[in-house]
Each structure stands twice: as structure tokens, then as C-alpha cells.
């Protein structure tokens, strides 16, 4: 059922709150910004039509407090709530609370979030929709001989995990049957000791994978894709540099990849903006679904630059019950876009967080340059939240031109008073492997450990 969203409550902070306010204002929607006591002077509060304090500084007592947020949104007579990313964006209980209070949630249904947030259910939904998943054992394995026969089917190297585990604990990689025979009993003993359950799970180990993801949009009946993003440049599993599109893909693989994403989104009746994440094996050109994120993502601007689509506006429209405003054949890709994350961290001191006051701010301008942020001169960046303070996005006619533009934009970006990750990105734009698009998810950390950042800085290439 269609309704008009007139008053949108923003249950987030930082740059994404600013981004949502800009999208809503362009649509003529009144914005109500939630903020903690520590965020009373943030840019989103200044830009919003109205603002309301939802609690003290700790996120658990403000941005994660479902009751406080629903009450504030209700009191503000909001008719919809945008969760942004992080915090409560993928919390089905929050969606149910928002809807129980008579408001729309800008995102998919609580049931979709429940289903896609559960790794096993998401994998089953993917398989049912014909989306390739990482080959693995169907369920838990008790006997070493079972592991041996499954491994022979899925192919070496295999990753051995504790069935009851999580967070990477107890993961081993066996290159051969001989190694698996040695490691499986060790893994069983460790799983039993750590989790009280010696059951194992086996899956194909994708060596040096790329992280590739597909942006989708759905209105509950129809789904479309907005092509893919390449997000392999990661440190501690956090993306630091993202591209659209992925140059490593052939046109044939890209088409297949995006079609599988649409098939899964359509199969679950997806509403809003979502992302399907895949591991890509560049040696075999195979891709495997790993999980779905049921929200707008940090790196959505590269897709917006590539396609010209405003993803945040579109997700607001479909959440109001409207149909998608475009068909698949109207979505085209032009040139190449790159986003780098600017964090308040010192990359030369193990990325130590470095909040403080922005004493001077200079933002590069020009065609193909976009800076999504929440800064202004004199702003005190609070220490209580994520270190992401901005995203510099560039769009060029090809990858080479985008990197050249990124370099000049980075040189024109000045954020004084704090430490930022700008020096990291200035080193990356000059790196031969980065220029050659020759990296994967395990590339950046060894690169840093080898002292590449320090060496370049000492050579005086970075001021």
C-alpha cells in the first residue's frame, strides 16, 4: 500500500545521517534527526528540520536503544524511520517495534532481515535461487573419514571450522588429504574444548579471494541490480577502499553475477536497497555468495557515481510502497568510481584512533569529485563512535583516470587538528599493484607490515 512519507526520522549519526537528510530534503520530506547527548552539535543536527536527543553518549543508551528511538520518533510524529547502516539497521526487533508504533521502516521487512541475517538460512535461500555458494559440507561432520570423503567432493584446499564456533576460532586450512587427516582430529579436540561440541564443518578454502558485491534494489515484486563493487582492499576485515565496477570481471561473469543477485532478491521479495556479498576466485573466475546485507552500505556512493541512481532516495520511495522508478535496462554503467574511507586514525601508529577538533577544513571541488562527511571547522569529533569521518569519492572515464583524480583530490583534502588515513590513501594511489588492480582481501595487511607506508612517507612523497 502506498503512502506518502512526509516526516522522516533518522536513527543514525555521522556522515550517513547527513546523506539521508540531503536525499529526504530533495524529495520535500521533513527530517527529524536523532542524536545522543555527545552529538548535539553534529552536522546532521544542524541540517535537519528538527532534532531530538535520544539519550546519553554510549550507543547502548542512545543509537541502540529501541524504546528510546521509537518513542522519540512517535513523539516527533514521524511516519517513517531510516536506520542508516550499523546500529539498528539490521535488527528485526527494531523493525517490528517501528511498525508496531504505526511507522514505516526504510528497509526490508523484519522477516527478510531475520532470514537473510541467519547465515544458514541465507545460504539455503541462495542455493534455492540458484546462486553459487562456497562448496561445503551439508551439515556437521563427526568422523574424520566423513571429512575426507566430503573434501574429495568439494576439492582442496579446504577450510575446517568448528560447527558450533564463530569468529574465526579454530579455523584450519588443509591443502591435501594428508594434512586433513592430521588437522581434523586437532580441530575436533579444540572445538570440543572451546565450544563443548566436537562437530566440524568443512568448506572449500578460496585462496587470496576478492570481495565483490552486487547492489540490488527491490520493491517487493520486482528487483534490479545496479552492478557490482570491488571491496577487497581491507584491513582487519574493514573495507578501506572500494571501486565500482570490478575490473577483474569479464563481461560474461559480471552478467552472471548480477543476475544471480537479482534472482535472490526477487525470490525473497526484497524491499529497499541491499547488497549481496561474494568471494571471487580470480584464478578460476568462480564466485560464491557469502552473505547479504539488508541495508544501505557505507560504499553506496561508488554505485551512485557509476549509475547516476540516487540509492537513498529510491529506498525511501519503495519503503513508502511505491514501485521501483526504473527498469533494469534503464540502469547503465559509465566510467569507473572509487571511494576511500577517511578515518580519524593515525595510519603511522597502528591506526590508533585520533578524535579531536577539526581546526581547518579544505574540501576538493570539481567534476567527478564527491566528499560525503559530517565535518565543519571547529567541530569536535566525539570519541564514542566509529572512526569514519568522511568518504572521498571520485568518478573518471576509466579506472586509470579515476585513480589520477583520486590522487589530486586527496592532495586537495585538508583536515587539520586530527590524524586521518589520508596518508594511507596517498601511498595506495602510487602503488604499482594497486594501479594494476592486482590485490585481494589478504593484500593490505602484509603490505602495511612490510613497511610500505612508512617507507614512502620517509621518502618525502607524502607531506
Amino acid at each position: 500500500m502506498t503512502m506518502t512519507i512526509k516526516r522522516l526520522f533518522i536513527a543514525n549519526r555521522g556522515e550517513i545521517a547527513v546523506r539521508i537528510i540531503r536525499a529526504a530534503k530533495a524529495m520535500g520530506i521533513t527530517t527529524i534527526q536523532a542524536h545522543s547527548e555527545a552529538d548535539a552539535d553534529m552536522l546532521a543536527v544542524r541540517l535537519a528540520d528538527e532534532a531530538v536527543c535520544i539519550g546519553p553518549a554510549p550507543a547502548a543508551k542512545s543509537y541502540l536503544d529501541i524504546a528510546a528511538i521509537v518513542e522519540a520518533a512517535t513523539r516527533g510524529k514521524a511516519d517513517a524511520v531510516h536506520p542508516g547502516y550499523g546500529f539498528l539497521a539490521e535488527n528485526a526487533g527494531f523493525v517490528r517495534a517501528v511498525e508496531a508504533a504505526g511507522m514505516r521502516f526504510v528497509g526490508p521487512s523484519a522477516d527478510t532481515i531475520d532470514r537473510m541475517g541467519d547465515k544458514v538460512a541465507a545460504r539455503q535461500a541462495a542455493e534455492a535461487a540458484g546462486v553459487p555458494v562456497v562448496p561445503g559440507s551439508k551439515g556437521r561432520l563427526e568422523a574424520v573419514e566423513d571429512a575426507i570423503s566430503i573434501a574429495a567432493e568439494i576439492g582442496y584446499p579446504v577450510m575446517i571450522k568448528a560447527a558450533a564456533g564463530g569468529g574465526g576460532k579454530g579455523i584450519r586450512i588443509a591443502q591435501s588429504e594428508e594434512e586433513l587427516r592430521k588437522m581434523a582430529p586437532q580441530a575436533q579436540a579444540e572445538a570440543a574444548a572451546s565450544f563443548g561440541d566436537g562437530g566440524l564443518y568443512l568448506e572449500r578454502a578460496i585462496q587470496s579471494p576478492r570481495h565483490i558485491e552486487v547492489q540490488i534494489l527491490g520493491d517487493g515484486e520486482r528487483a534490479v541490480h545496479c552492478f557490482e563493487r570491488e571491496c577487497s582492499m581491507q584491513r582487519r576485515r574493514q573495507k578501506v577502499w572500494e571501486e565500482a565496477g570490478a575490473e577483474c570481471l569479464s563481461e560474461e561473469t559480471r552478467t552472471k553475477l548480477c543476475q544471480t543477485a537479482v534472482a535472490l532478491a526477487a525470490a525473497v521479495g526484497y524491499v529497499g536497497a541491499g547488497t549481496l556479498e561474494y568471494l571471487y576466485d580470480s584464478v578460476t573466475a568462480e564466485f560464491f555468495f557469502i552473505e547479504m546485507n539488508t541495508r544501505i552500505q557505507v560504499e553506496h556512493p561508488v554505485t551512485e557515481m557509476l549509475t547516476g541512481i540516487d540509492l537513498v532516495q529510491e529506498m525511501i520511495r519503495v519503503s513508502a510502497g511505491e514501485k521501483l522508478s526504473m527498469t533494469q535496462d534503464q540502469i547503465t554503467r559509465t566510467g569507473h568510481a572509487i571511494e576511500v574511507r577517511i578515518n580519524a586514525e593515525d595510519p603511522l601508529m597502528q591506526f590508533m584512533p585520533w578524535p579531536g577538533q577539526v581546526t581547518a577544513l579544505q574540501i576538493p571541488q570539481g567534476d567527478g569529485i564527491r566528499f560525503d562527511h559530517f565535518l565543519y571547522e571547529g567541530y569536535h569529533i566525539p570519541p564514542f563512535y566509529d572512526s569514519l569521518i568522511g568518504k572521498l569519492i571520485v568518478h573518471g572515464k576509466d579506472r586509470h583516470e579515476a585513480i589520477a583524480l583520486l590522487k589530486s583530490a586527496l592532495q586537495g583534502l585538508r583536515i587539520e587538528g586530527i590524524k586521518t588515513t589520508i596518508p594511507l590513501h596517498l601511498a595506495l594511489v602510487d602503488d604499482n599493484q594497486v594501479l594494476a588492480d592486482d590485490f585481494h582481501t589478504q593484500w593490505l595487511e602484509p603490505w602495511l607490515a612490510q613497511g610500505n607506508l612508512t617507507a614512502q612517507t620517509q621518502k618525502g612523497e607524502i607531506q
Binding site: 578524535p355 579531536g356 566525539p382 570519541p383 564514542f384 572512526s387
Partner: protein, 78 residues
């Protein structure tokens, strides 16, 4: 009397987790390098270590309190 200061703004904790005991209690011996607390800054936990030896007197604030850079976290007696 010597003081241990916070090097960073953030949230101060006197224990590693709510289930753990406090790092130091009154009368405890403190050696150089002993951890006396944590400061959480932008989701990263920084261990606060004593730079001088002494006897622990008290924490200057409650666990979970917001701190500014340079604020006193704890006091030691010689």
C-alpha cells in the same frame, strides 16, 4: 602521590569486562607497565599502563565514565 592520566579522550573502564575484577584495588602494589584500566576510543580499547611504581590509592572516576585527554584516571602513593 602520583597520578595516571588518560592519553586520549573516550570512555574509561576499571575492569577488562563486567565479569572481571577491577585491575587494581586500594593498597595493591603497582609496577611500571601494570595495566590499571582501559580507555575506549572510537570502538578501540587502549590499555592504560602505569609509568611509575607505587601503591594503588584509588580510581579518580567510575568505570564507564567519559574522559578527556589529560584527565586523571587514578592515583598512586609512593
Amino acid at each position: 602521590m602520583s597520578q595516571i592520566l588518560s592519553p586520549l579522550p573516550g570512555t574509561f573502564y576499571t575492569q577488562a569486562s563486567p565479569e572481571e575484577p577491577v585491575y587494581k584495588a586500594q593498597g595493591d602494589a603497582v609496577a611500571v607497565g601494570d595495566t590499571i584500566g582501559l580507555v575506549e576510543v572510537m570502538k578501540t580499547f587502549i590499555e592504560i599502563k602505569a609509568e611509575t611504581a607505587g601503591t594503588f590509592a584509588s580510581y579518580a572516576l567510575e568505570s564507564g565514565a567519559a574522559v578527556t585527554a589529560g584527565q586523571v584516571l587514578a592515583e598512586l602513593t609512593e
